[in-house]
Symmetry: C2
Subunit: 121 residues, 2 copies
């Protein structure tokens, strides 16, 4: 039903960046995904899709949340889709989007700091 | 010793984006920080600093890892510093950088997916 994850991009990215230095290729792959969420509209779109109870969201329910045109929303959704964070499936008139929780989980894991922010007493 | 975190930026960002939709202002603040790590060199710099055993890294130990000029490294470090991810302190000839683990932890928390990637059996 949905496409496979960009596993080549994700395989090398799961160790926290605070545990050992990222390689150049790991950093290049991750930077592309972070670039996809470096735009406020894309970040809100990702959040709307990821937080939707039903697991998927019709594009027809996404555009109304923004003061930008439909084609602009479509462009941002395409960038998110190309990053591997979301997937879309056309059914009839509309495209339905869902998040890839594995990709979110791996980005989250990469950013885990090495140690607690405060030392134990 | 080190500057305060950009708390105004971080206060509103700790709920996972998959739990409830980000507001426009939350997304704007987070997008700035993700933009700082949307560049491979900055991501590697952040990882080198965050994974350094001693907690801080001399800029003199960072430049040798890259095939770019010192001023380019300085520019990238400035972007990371302005995002709140790292802080720098000049001591004598050199600037010493350390990560703000709280900011990394909060970015990590924002990206936690809503549910496990696979349903329980």
């Amino acid at each position: 039903m949905s496409k496979q994850l960009p596993l080549a991009a994700m395989d090398a990215c799961c160790s926290p960046l605070a545990r050992e230095p990222l390689s150049a290729s790991q950093a290049a792959e991750l930077a592309k995904i972070f670039k996809a969420i470096s735009d406020p509209i894309r970040l809100r779109l990702l959040s709307l899709i990821a937080s939707h109870g039903g697991g998927e969201v019709c594009v027809c329910d996404l555009t109304s949340a923004f003061d930008v045109t439909g084609p602009t929303i479509s462009h941002h959704l395409k960038v998110l889709r190309e990053s591997g964070l979301i997937d879309g499936e056309r059914r009839g008139t509309w495209v339905y989007y869902r998040v890839h929780p594995e990709v979110l989980a791996r980005l989250s894991a990469v950013l885990v700091p090495a140690a607690p922010a405060t030392a134990p007493a």
